[in-house]
Symmetry: C2
Subunit: 153 residues, 2 copies
């Protein structure tokens, strides 16, 4: 009873590892944010800007899953820290573009790249067939999640 109070929770090793990764990811988000002096949401915004280039506040809101009003705050904070700036959108004067500052991008990449390189390194140690197995597993897990959320969460 002390070690297994609820028999329903008998997880496989892979499942436990996945859970640990999810937990580590949360710490990572805090850590990443700390690197730029931001909260996780603001850092996530930076990630989108780094990956996709300048984005409108509306698009940023959509990607972050928050209201456009909240994104105004995100941009205010990023601008306050000189991580990004507002520029007018030449094609639509209602809209604007949030442009990441190169120096901040560099700093963020300093944190992000070791992670992605490390992840890639793990994959590189696997052969083609093994990578396929991993892909199959992850696809399966993603499918299970999507199904529970009602296809497309």
């Amino acid at each position: 009873m002390a070690t297994a109070p609820r028999p329903d929770f008998a997880f496989g090793e892979a499942t436990l590892l996945l859970r640990e990764i999810l937990k580590l990811t949360k710490s990572m988000e805090l850590d990443m944010g700390a690197a730029l002096g931001t909260n996780p949401t603001d850092f996530a915004a930076m990630q989108h800007l780094m990956e996709s280039g300048p984005l409108s506040p509306g698009e940023l809101a959509r990607r972050l899953g928050v209201s456009t009003a909240a994104v105004t705050g995100v941009i205010d904070r990023l601008e306050g820290l000189s991580h990004a700036r507002r520029e007018p959108d030449p094609d639509d004067r209602r809209r604007l573009l949030v442009v990441p500052e190169p120096e901040s991008v560099r700093r963020a990449l300093d944190r992000l790249l070791p992670l992605t390189r490390g992840a890639q390194g793990v994959l590189d140690e696997l052969d083609e067939d093994e990578r396929a197995v991993v892909t199959r597993y992850l696809s399966g897990i993603a499918a299970v999640y999507r199904e529970q959320l009602g296809i497309e969460g």
Copy 2:
């Protein structure tokens, strides 16, 4: 430039899938919470109570990574919804035990079990060697994360 504004972000398929899973997990946490009418933190507390049985507020705070003051609020909300109740700890009269209500546990499991069963199902479709590959991959990823966080996050 439109499709690949930053060449630094060339992710492998597995990495993209892992990212998607992380994203789905967040939706899942909201979804789970909604099932009990709670926020993700409160649901996470329920998960710990379900897995480990009654816990003290302090232990709950430690596991959730929030202050004990915040946990007072968590327990207040769970009690308000009759998902758990406070009981005195027979061994230490300063302490108390947060006990999950069976009916709420049942409702939470209704949501959780399909997920864990689904995840287990994905694993069941792999043979022994393949499962070892998955474990190796996930261990590697976890190690990379831990390393970046400075061993033990």
